[in-house]
Subunit: 150 residues, 2 copies
């Protein structure tokens, strides 16, 4: 925890364009990676979905410690990670502390991962051996495409 104490990520700087359109800059990539890192844990993912799907869009911590096998300090730690990534907000109300999701943060990540605007068809599945541009120099690569499976 002695790394950097950037207080809380908020979505003011980086982009909302799908990454298919243009490559990410270093600064945007670093900030987005911090948000994805907060999502990169099964417990946090379930916590987030539990909060998001709860009545009223928010949940008390006492509703969140039950469904998990981990201890209460661990749940508290995960909630802090989600909060510091800007994915949830929190508020104490009397005895209990409530958490809710930040829809703008989720929407931003969702938009980033949107494959394309044109909903034509999935252009993968076989990359349709478009030679694109041969990296070094032009050479007709008519060799058999061989899966680099491992």
């Amino acid at each position: 925890m002695s790394k950097q104490n950037l207080p809380v990520l908020d979505q003011t700087t980086a982009c909302c364009t799908p990454m298919v359109r243009e490559p990410l800059g270093e600064v945007d990539a670093a900030e987005l990676a911090r948000m994805f890192k907060a999502l990169a844990d099964p417990v946090r993912l379930r916590l987030l979905s539990l909060i998001a799907s709860h009545d009223g869009g928010e949940a008390c911590v006492c509703d969140l410690t039950g469904p998990f096998d981990v201890s209460q300090p661990t749940i508290s730690h995960h909630l802090r990670v989600l909060r510091e990534a800007g994915l949830v907000g929190s508020e104490r109300r009397g005895t209990w502390v409530y958490y809710w999701v930040m829809p703008t943060a989720l929407a931003r990540l969702s938009a980033l991962l949107t494959p394309a605007q044109t909903p034509a068809q999935t252009p993968a599945q076989t990359p349709a051996q478009t030679p694109a541009q041969t990296p070094g120099q032009a050479s007709a690569q008519t060799s058999v495409p061989e899966k680099a499976s491992r």
Copy 2:
């Protein structure tokens, strides 16, 4: 690398429902966390955007090692992480190896993070002190909401 050798994640099992609708199961959360973990690095995020925004939707590794400060083995390692998470595919064509994004994988994560179907208004920003359901027992919490900022 001695952990588990699950070969490559493919999107056959888990859901495509936004997590706002229903809580994630343990199995789905674990698999989705593996995919988000692959996105949780600035270099991998930039690699993915570089591949996705490249001409023809695919890029040679030789196009990808240039824009980064890290070494070639590190780039190769990151590409492998992306491939084993099911986010990109790869193929050797003669001398060069090409990578492309898997749009279905990205679309699945994007759908999961979609805040809501109803595009009414953002229900956060002030959680609208709905008492929802008092956790332990009914008690009128009319105390002032105080931000649990840190």
